[in-house]
């Protein structure tokens, strides 16, 4: 998985565009309610946020194909994230 921090666009390792992250609410991950190992609930919009830490590219693409508006959390320091510019 790759992310461009300037544009907040996510790509697979092979360069396929997946999603552009955008959240106007700016709720912190730590402030969200835990729902499982990899998901939390945003108390502002009640949406489920999926942590990408343990997702591989196939999981990620499947998740976004099933729900293009799915919310993701991507952390620059996760092992599976590469940064591109």
């Amino acid at each position: 998985m790759k992310i461009n921090p300037s544009t907040k666009e996510i790509f697979t390792d092979s360069g396929e565009f997946v999603k552009r992250l955008h959240c106007p609410i700016h709720v912190k991950w730590k402030a969200m309610k835990k729902m499982g190992v990899d998901t939390r609930i945003c108390f502002e919009c009640n949406k489920t946020i999926h942590d990408t830490a343990s997702l591989n590219d196939t999981d990620l693409v499947r998740l976004i194909n099933n729900d293009p508006k799915a919310c993701l959390r991507v952390n620059l320091n996760h092992e599976n994230i590469k940064i591109i510019h």
């Binding site: 992310i3 921090p5 907040k8 552009r20 992250l21 955008h22 959240c23 106007p24 700016h26 709720v27 912190k28 991950w29 946020i49 919310c71 993701l72 959390r73 991507v74 952390n75 620059l76 320091n77 590469k82 940064i83 591109i84 510019h85």
Partner: protein, 203 residues
């Protein structure tokens, strides 16, 4: 038309000599770095008159940032209220990159992550280099303060003048906060770094 008139009134004198890395603005004769998309002097004069700044973004008023003596002088002559600040980029910010070329196809790519640097099919054109990507064309900058801005009002600043760390990556890159929400204290803006900080991206 107003923009042209302002340019005529406030344009600065072009530098006496030009180098190959510079170009001259066709509208105001300002000499600037070729790498920039547009003349910075004109860019900030245009911001003064850009009506899109009058529209709210995410329900917040958007604060204009202007840079350079020409735009600041123009804003003062227009009677606008300014909060002038010195613009100096901190040495703390750095983004690393490496430029590679594919040995067979000749394709040139730029990578930013040590973990991508693992193919013998690629030859190094520029080895790992850290650069401060933030460069201000002038040490003079100012926020244009709406006259009816109330103490405690939350706003959006698309071009933050002061230096704040937006995020750090465990490979050493340090990003500067360029956009942020802020609160008007009556004299200054309190920059809410967390509003646009990077590290965790959610969306």
């Amino acid at each position: 038309m107003l923009f042209k008139r302002l340019l005529d009134i406030f344009k600065t004198k072009p530098h006496s000599q030009t180098k190959k890395v510079k170009k001259i603005c066709t509208e105001c004769d300002y000499v600037y770095e070729k790498l920039l998309d547009e003349c910075p002097d004109c860019k900030y004069l245009k911001i003064l008159m850009n009506k899109s700044f009058d529209e709210k973004s995410d329900n917040l008023r958007v604060i204009r940032t202007i840079r350079g003596e020409t735009a600041i002088k123009a804003a003062k002559d227009m009677g606008l209220k300014l909060l002038e600040l010195r613009a100096e980029v901190s040495d703390e910010f750095k983004v690393k990159y490496k430029k590679l070329q594919h040995r067979k196809t000749g394709e040139i790519i730029t990578i930013g992550d040590f973990r991508e640097d693992n193919g013998s099919e690629w030859k190094t054109l520029v080895n790992w280099t850290s650069e401060n990507p933030s460069k201000f064309f002038s040490p003079y900058a100012a926020y244009v303060i709406p006259k009816d801005l109330k103490k405690g009002e939350r706003v959006l600043i698309n071009d933050v003048i002061t230096n704040h760390v937006s995020g750090r990556w465990n490979q050493g890159d340090v990003y500067r906060l360029s956009k942020s929400e802020a609160t008007w204290t009556g004299e200054d803006f309190y920059i809410d770094v967390s509003s646009y900080a990077i590290g965790d991206f959610i969306g």
